[in-house]
């Protein structure tokens, strides 16, 4: 009772990375709260699915295995969570801020009239004082997220309602195995007890999923090029540096619009948001929409021939030079000094 729950998203038989990241975060929250971590896996053909989640420190795995549960549709998965939560009364429920999590989370919160905060970038435990009513709430989940187009950061709490629900994007939290042999209880539920037949009304008649070509969202190092790269060939230099540093290549909107780089690598408000530990901006001036997609990077290096480029204002290191000059040197000196 009153444990931390993570809804594990399934792509076929595989638990999504974002869910494993949330299990890692959930384990830490559960330790801090002195409670257990529970996982929910709902899909089809889920024999042995627990082997994927238990190593992340899961104390109980709830498996819902039935033919109609994959591909995901909203109603059956909503019924599973709503009915399970009525029995288990979790204090916290986390899910990925993916298409599925953002489809499912709001429905569950609406059914349980509990609060939900979307796209959190940090989750912490802390107290909350309601000064107006003179009540102090202990050990609430602080749900921290950017809002207002990335212009403010808000800390949200749900003082009265349970579960406290939050979604988190892929790549924001780190996944970390606690113990390969972590022992947890596996509960295989009778799906029909949780999901009425009438829930299976939406039929998926066609589905195309391509394996992601890159992992820009989750990359620890991102090398991004802007209009200043000059050409598609200019980007080849970035791919070369990326190969050395085990990094991913991204681009500003200007570079994508100019055809230097594919659209799915665009970083910024209308593209991907990245949170790498190192961000190398090459020939990027730094429009606010671009900055909104990378401002949480740990260390920012700006390579720019314009000393007044706006991005320099948020950079930790500014290399004043042309990309053609600097990037080959970075490759050269990395090769020379690494190992």
């Amino acid at each position: 009772m009153n444990n931390v729950f993570v809804y594990c998203e399934m792509e076929g038989k595989h638990v999504a990375d974002v869910s494993l990241e949330l299990l890692t975060k959930g384990r830490k929250l559960a330790d801090e709260l002195g409670c257990q971590l529970e996982a929910i896996c709902a899909g089809s053909d889920l024999a042995d699915v627990e082997k994927q989640v238990l190593p992340y420190g899961v104390d109980r795995v709830h498996v819902f295995d039935a033919p109609g549960l994959f591909p995901y549709t909203s109603l059956p998965h909503t019924s599973i969570l709503v009915n399970l939560f009525k029995e288990e009364k979790p204090q916290i429920c986390l899910m990925g801020a993916t298409v599925i999590g953002r489809d499912l989370g709001p429905r569950v919160s609406s059914a349980l009239t509990s609060g939900l905060t979307a796209d959190c970038t940090q989750l912490e435990i802390g107290n909350h004082e309601d000064k107006k009513n003179g009540i102090t709430y202990e050990n609430l989940l602080y749900q921290i997220r950017p809002a207002f187009g990335g212009n403010i950061v808000a800390t949200i709490v749900n003082p009265e309602h349970r579960p406290q629900m939050a979604t988190v994007r892929e790549g924001v939290m780190k996944k970390e195995i606690v113990n390969e042999n972590y022992q947890g209880e596996v509960i295989r539920h009778d799906v029909a007890k949780y999901v009425p037949e009438t829930d299976y009304v939406v039929k998926v008649i066609d589905r195309h999923v391509e394996k992601a070509k890159h992992n820009l969202k989750g990359a620890p190092i991102v090398i991004a090029g802007g209009y200043g790269m000059g050409s598609k060939e200019g980007f080849d230099m970035l791919y070369e540096l990326a190969k050395e540093l085990h990094a991913e290549v991204g681009a500003s909107r200007a570079a994508v619009d100019a055809g230097f780089c594919e659209h799915d690598r665009q970083i910024g408000q209308t593209g991907v948001t990245v949170h790498p530990k190192l961000y190398i901006a090459c020939g990027i001036s730094g429009q606010i929409q671009h900055i909104a997609g990378m401002q949480d990077a740990g260390i920012i290096i700006s390579v720019n021939s314009d000393p007044n480029a706006p991005i320099n204002a948020i950079a930790d290191y500014v290399i004043n030079g042309t990309v053609e000059e600097v990037i080959p040197k970075m490759i050269k000196y990395y090769k020379k000094n690494s190992k």
């Binding site: 909203s74 905060t117 212009n151 195309h208 999923v209 290399i319 004043n320 600097v326």
Partner: protein, 295 residues
């Protein structure tokens, strides 16, 4: 078949065009510097609704929005593009609503509208980016939902087929009506205003807009028109009008509370500026290797 379509639309501050004057000197947001606009993805939703109206004669498109009196602008913008009518949910009791309280208010208003086959809105609003209100409304009404819709392909025999985005791909799904849909920003853009409809509706006003004009001592131009042409009076609904429970509306109906707000002010960090010389670049690489930033 003719369809009854309700479009959920929101007036939002234009957070995409945050200029230099968007922040006050004390770090708070200068709302006056942000123009109020029709939430972009709600326009994509409106277009899908209008296309259905084009292909299903006899269908009606109703705009439903919630906000202060000036949000009647959203209904006018809808009418200019081909919507048939609209309702503005406006009441102090709705203020401070989080997504759950918002969805409660919208769901009660939809029940008041009564007849609907398709309820359609944008995937998310640019001021909150939560994508929660659509699914929460669907749950409150006990309806199925399809989110991240790219295109409505077909509506026939009480069923709908839509193409939608999923992570890393696309899906085609079929579902029975009535249904709630939320539309992605990559869907077809909304048609422009129709000049004839602009002429027809440009004097359409909500009650609070009229009152605001009178308060400023401005006589309502063509006052008699509002009696002759009832469609110029945009309908406002209060909590009582939709039989709402004030406890479930606004701040009191919101389980989430904002504990703290921090403004992001782009301040120069302590940054090191170096040249592109061999020595400088090598020193930087060595430093990054030493502190394990790169491996």
């Amino acid at each position: 078949m003719s369809l009854k379509i309700v479009v959920l639309a929101k007036q939002v501050p234009d957070t995409r065009n945050v200029g230099k004057d968007a922040m006050n000197a004390d770090g708070t947001i200068n709302r006056a510097a942000l123009p109020a606009i029709f939430n972009p993805e709600d326009l994509n939703a409106l277009e899908q609704a209008l296309r259905l109206k084009d292909t299903h004669p006899g269908s009606t498109v109703t705009i439903l929005t919630m906000g202060p009196g000036r949000a009647a602008e959203i209904i006018r913008e809808g009418l200019y593009r081909g919507a048939d009518n609209g309702y503005l949910l406006t009441d102090r009791a709705f203020a401070g609503a989080d997504t759950l309280a918002t969805s409660y208010a919208l769901a009660t208003a939809i029940r008041k509208i009564g007849e609907y086959d398709i309820i359609i809105g944008g995937r998310q609003a640019i001021d909150g980016d939560t994508a929660q209100v659509g699914p929460q409304v669907a749950e409150k009404l006990g309806l199925p939902q399809v989110t991240y819709v790219e295109e409505i392909q077909q509506v026939a025999d009480g069923r709908i087929r839509v193409k939608r985005h999923i992570d890393g791909g696309v899906e085609t799904v079929e579902a029975p009506l009535p249904i709630v849909l939320t539309v992605n920003g990559s869907a077809a853009p909304c048609r422009p205003r129709n000049a004839k409809l602009v002429m027809k509706y440009k004097r359409a006003l909500g009650g609070q807009e009229k009152a605001a004009l009178e308060k400023d001592g401005v006589a309502l131009a063509y006052a008699d028109l509002y009696e002759k042409r009832p469609y110029l009076n945009l309908v406002e609904w209060s909590v009582a009008d939709v039989n709402g429970d004030t406890k479930q509306c606004g701040l009191s109906g919101s389980p989430t509370k904002v504990k703290k707000i921090e403004n992001i002010v782009f301040q120069a960090k302590e940054s090191k500026t170096i040249t592109g010389s061999d020595a400088d670049v090598e020193n930087l690489i060595v430093e990054l290797l030493a502190n394990h930033t790169i491996g």
